[in-house]
């Protein structure tokens, strides 16, 4: 546990050094947010029909997505993938299964600090200038925060799984590159999930990815009743546990393969 805290501390230290990078990063994300908001505004004025989300709700959804973007990067963890690529991973794997939790903590830590640094200013700016609505209610805010925690854990788990897929060199490379893009789409960042065709909604609900962005944001906007919210949270954590178990199993499999190959 202290190792994870130390890691967190070190990362914050590094981040503070790159102040210009942080500011530039926020400016970039706000810029992209603008582009997307304008795009959706144009779409909404082109169609008089009713839609599952109002124009204002979509705008808030987008700004939340920009603010919490870093929280949900599901790409491969760079340090671990580098270890796998260079082969030094064998030294890590000689230690018992605690390696899995160490790697998981690494994935979690990699998200929290930079994400918080970018999210907080953007939410504040969003409330002040950009059209980000306030949470629908105190309950909504509470559930949003709970869902965000789950979101971090889930994103870290997914990222870890993609990283572990690299242990199986060939197919792993393809999966670890295409996978994140697919998850990206299915999490609601590219297009808010409610706007997907009606026929696809059941599939989207069954997949774990909506727990990354869609669930927290919809809770924030008050688009779910508290019962639906609790169900969604339970689903989130169910997936987290499931994916982590899958990860443990994959790691054990990978270890066995490496051991068999002679290191």
């Amino acid at each position: 546990m202290s190792a994870c805290l130390a890691m967190l501390d070190a990362r914050i230290r590094v981040l503070l050094q790159y102040r210009t990078v942080a500011v530039a990063g926020i400016a970039t994300q706000i810029f992209f947010g603008f582009v997307r908001v304008m795009t959706f505004t144009a779409f909404y004025r082109s169609s008089a029909a009713a839609h599952p989300m109002t124009h204002e709700q979509v705008i808030s959804y987008i700004w939340l997505g920009q603010a919490f973007l870093l929280l949900a990067m599901f790409g491969v963890d760079n340090e671990i993938s580098e270890m796998i690529r260079s082969g030094t991973v064998v030294y890590e794997l000689t230690r018992p299964a605690s390696v899995f939790w160490l790697w998981y903590s690494r994935c979690v830590a990699a998200r929290i600090a930079p994400a918080a640094m970018r999210a907080i200013p953007q939410v504040l700016l969003g409330w002040a200038f950009l059209g980000l609505q306030f949470p629908a209610s105190v309950l909504a805010l509470l559930m949003f925060c709970l869902a965000l925690t789950g979101s971090v854990a889930l994103a870290a788990a997914i990222s870890l799984l993609f990283t572990l897929s690299l242990l199986r060199t060939i197919s792993g490379e393809g999966i670890s590159r295409m996978g994140p893009a697919l998850v990206f789409l299915l999490s609601g960042i590219v297009v808010p999930l409610p706007l997907f065709p009606q026929r696809i909604q059941p599939i989207l609900n069954a997949l774990p990815f909506r727990g990354l962005m869609d669930v927290p944001f919809r809770l924030y906007l008050g688009q779910m009743t508290w019962q639906e919210g609790v169900l969604a949270l339970a689903q989130q954590w169910g997936w987290i546990v499931g994916l982590l178990l899958l990860g443990r199993w994959l790691l054990a499999l990978g270890v066995r393969r490496l051991v068999v190959q002679g290191g």
Partner: protein, 327 residues
């Protein structure tokens, strides 16, 4: 007309001031402070065509900065430099085509390519004449004994092999000046000798002017007729090895091997420098007492098996020079 002319070269750098601790790091987010570091504080020297000059100094003395300025990749704050009639940083492309530079720490060859392909690429980059290139390359390969590694990718070479290949690469376009920055650093004994031998032959037979920075004193002793010592951005000494020694001290050393004897030698006009077992090194001033006298006296009193008169190692001379500048 000297080939390299350096006059009152000056260069300062602004370095960001880092504050310690996490609180300092946080403060650094809001305001950065700088301090000025004077790397070159008025360096002047001249090098004639065909010279082999050693450029020596402690770390941070300004050696690399000088080399970079002479190579044309750094613009100084003040002073004049003229090499073969050109100001290096104002005529970069023309100047750089006439010089060769070897950095001991970094290779200029392409990591994944076989050595010979790096050479061919350099030939095209430097627009070397295709007819003469082949001959020049083969000569260099022969002199540096790298024929066996020509088809090996650079990343698979040992340090010694890589350095020799770098030397060849720097000379493929027949430059008239060669700048060497720590060429023997990290090399094994055999490679060091090979490199030194090569540089010596290059200078004596082909007349290539060489400017060599190094920490290795054996490099200096074997190669350099002339040594420039710098520290804190200023020239402390510029002249032959003999002149350098004389400027610091006229001392000479006498190493006496007494066989099995463990006598103490306490001779007037001498000072014991060092003693290990039956070997004693004494320092004396040949201007006060000729060596023959000292030798005679010692041989009378002690059982001498072997003795040797030598100069103090150049390290000591230079170290003495460094320490004097703070005095």
């Amino acid at each position: 007309m000297p080939q390299i002319m350096v006059e009152d070269l000056r260069k300062s750098f602004r370095v960001a001031h880092r504050r310690p601790g996490a609180l300092g790091a946080l403060a650094g987010v809001f305001r950065r402070t700088y301090r000025e570091v004077e790397a070159l504080a008025g360096i002047s020297f001249r090098v004639e065509r065909g010279d082999l000059v050693g450029y020596v100094g402690p770390n941070g003395a300004g050696k690399s900065t000088t080399i970079k300025t002479l190579a044309g990749i750094m613009v100084p704050d003040g002073g004049r430099v003229e090499i073969d009639g050109l100001v290096p940083w104002e005529n970069r492309i023309r100047h750089v085509a006439r010089i060769g530079v070897v950095f001991g720490q970094r290779t200029q060859l392409w990591y994944d390519l076989p050595v010979i392909e790096s050479f061919d690429l350099l030939r095209d980059i430097y627009r070397a004449d295709r007819n003469t290139y082949g001959k020049i390359r083969d000569e260099l390969v022969e002199m540096l004994q790298i024929g066996s590694v020509l088809d090996t990718p650079v990343r698979q070479l040992s340090l010694g092999q890589r350095m020799r290949c770098d030397l060849a690469a720097a000379l493929l376009h027949k430059p008239s000046i060669l700048f060497l920055d720590e060429p023997t650093i990290g090399l094994d004994a055999v490679s060091k000798l090979a490199v030194r031998d090569f540089v010596l032959r290059l200078n004596r037979n082909e007349g290539v002017t060489v400017l060599l920075t190094t920490h290795d004193m054996d490099d200096i002793e074997t190669l350099c007729r002339r040594v420039i010592v710098i520290a804190d951005g200023k020239v402390l000494s510029d002249g032959t090895m003999g002149e350098l020694r004389q400027s610091v001290s006229s001392e000479r050393w006498l190493a006496v091997d007494m066989g099995d004897g463990v006598d103490l030698i306490d001779e007037p006009d001498t000072r014991v420098v060092r003693r290990d077992g039956h070997r004693i090194v004494l320092a004396f001033d040949p201007r006060k007492t000729p060596p023959s006298q000292i030798i005679a006296r010692i041989c009378e009193k002690h059982p001498v098996r072997d003795l040797l008169v030598e100069n103090p190692p150049i390290e000591n001379t230079i170290a003495e020079l460094y320490s004097r500048r703070t005095a």
